[in-house]
């Protein structure tokens, strides 16, 4: 498996650390209420199809990357810096 780092280009999977669903980037406001926080902390979709993950280019440039991939085909359709714009 290979992942394209938005900075370094296509790299071997062993350079990356898997964090989890990219939902981490959509943190609720502190006063969003217990339902929103319960959802954010504990509840995850388990899609048969497209999903968005957070990966860390640990053995590389140190960028956090949002990876869009398909759990059925293993195809990776997009990678982008979690920070938004490129630096």
């Amino acid at each position: 498996m290979r992942i394209t780092c938005p900075y370094c280009g296509e790299r071997d999977r062993r350079e990356f650390y898997y964090r989890g669903a990219a939902v981490d980037l959509d943190r609720p406001a502190p006063d969003a209420g217990p339902d929103a926080w319960d959802d954010f902390v504990y509840l995850r979709d388990n899609p048969a199809g497209e999903t968005r993950d957070l990966w860390y280019h640990e053995g590389g440039c140190g960028a956090w990357i949002v990876v869009t991939r398909n759990t059925l085909t293993h195809e990776i359709s997009a990678t982008e810096p979690a920070s938004g714009g490129k630096r």
């Binding site: 370094c8 790299r11 350079e15 140190g62």
Partner: protein, 181 residues
Amino acid sequence: MDKLIAQTPCDGLLPLTIGAVSVTEVAPGAIHAVSAFQGQAKSLSEAMKAAHGMVLPAPNRAAGKSGARAVWFGPGQVMLIGPTPDPSLSAHAAVVDQSDAWAVVRLEGDGAEDVLARLVPVDLRPQHFKRGHTARTLLFHMNASITRVGEKAFQIMVFRSMAKSLVHDLKRAMEGVAARR
């Protein structure tokens, strides 16, 4: 108090030549991480050009030459190696002294790529990785910065604490390559 004796990271470990490939320790001079403030990459690049004669390298690229290099080290971060950073850089960037924190070696010779091919999951052959190209990647289990600095020469940087492992891993790979020649 006893007088302290300065030792380089690879003191007692290098130089090393096996077959056609050699590793030598590089005395890098000062090493500073230079990270542009938000939106100031362009003005930092101009200040670097004025003070040190090289612009800010793009991702996966290095600028300069032996004695004064700027090596891309990650998003928004460049390592200035050699000169003491001019004070003018600090108006545009966070400048952090990392001198002596890195082991810096030069791997050189016919088959240097073959040695690295045993350790590094990136294609470093000259058709893909030319002079002035740099990669943040793994060297066996170590985070490394690898830059092609010559036709048959690479500069390799790892954390200073990894110096012994770096030399061990390079040595083993060099022996393997030499045995197959």
